[in-house]
């Protein structure tokens, strides 16, 4: 890991974690949602760093383009950001820290495959398309059905009951 590849890695990691921390800690709901977007962009940059360019772009489209807008719209519609920030139930932090410590301990003990560190062929869109259409045809149709069901479900849930 020479100096040159650590620098982008460190910068992106910093951005992602800063965004995530802000999303978790900021009292103002809208600020949290926007810093969540920052965290998503950081994760997308990670995907670029790891050579999965297509997934990074899909991440930006799906999360920054759609999920963040959905969250923001829900904040608008429920006006739940009406000034008084709900108290923070600080009981959750030690639990999260415990989970963090446990996972890091597990990480340090496991012998991860050293891996050829990027010898893999870069993820081409063509490659993804072919694998999607060959080995993963049925999961693709299943995800299609799931998404349609989610779409219909969301609309039914939110539709005004015609009194």
């Amino acid at each position: 890991m020479n100096l040159l590849s650590i620098l982008p890695f460190a910068v992106i990691a910093a951005i992602t974690l800063a965004g995530a921390l802000a999303a978790a800690a900021l009292p103002n709901l809208v600020h949290a949602a926007l810093s969540l977007v920052l965290a998503f962009l950081g994760v997308a940059a990670f995907f670029f760093l790891l050579g999965a360019e297509f997934i990074g772009l899909v991440q930006v489209i799906v999360y920054v383009g759609a999920v963040a807008v959905l969250i923001v719209f829900t904040i608008l519609l429920t006006r739940s950001d009406s000034g008084r920030p709900g108290y923070m139930n600080w009981g959750g932090v030690p639990v999260a820290l415990a989970v963090l410590a446990g996972l890091l301990w597990a990480l340090s003990r496991t012998a991860l495959p050293a891996g050829q560190a990027g010898a893999a062929a870069p993820l081409t869109v063509l490659g993804i398309g072919q694998t999607l259409m060959n080995q993963y045809v049925w999961p693709l149709q299943a995800v299609g059905v799931v998404l349609t069901a989610a779409l219909v479900g969301a609309v039914v849930l939110v539709m005004e009951e015609k009194r």
Partner: protein
């Protein structure tokens, strides 16, 4: 301390931040933000293991990440629809006020 360990460490921290968001917040939308972060951490793990894993040409990790993203988007849509439906009846999204099921 290889590159893989570093990426995994970052995703672990991201995951625990998401968990913290879910646990400490009273607002339902905040919980969703926390869940989104945990899902993103999961995806990051998948792609990292695909990139540094033994058989990158099979693209299993990448495929899994793509499908996880698709399903997560669907899940968020339904989650937010639920919050809106609850909000319409209870006029608030504070979780601890939604305890009418309690005996």
């Amino acid at each position: 301390m290889g590159a893989l360990e570093a990426v995994i460490a970052v995703s672990i921290v991201l995951f625990s931040l998401g968990l913290m968001a879910v646990l400490t917040r009273r607002d339902a939308i905040f919980m969703l933000i926390g869940i989104e972060m945990m899902l993103a951490a999961g995806n990051l793990n998948l792609v990292a293991f695909w990139h540094y894993g033994p058989h990158p040409e099979q693209m299993t990790g990448a495929m899994m990440a793509i499908f996880a993203m698709a399903v997560a988007a669907g899940e968020t849509a339904v989650g937010l629809a639920l919050i809106l439906a609850v909000y319409r009846h209870r006029r608030s999204t504070q979780i601890d006020q939604l305890n009418t099921l309690k005996g």
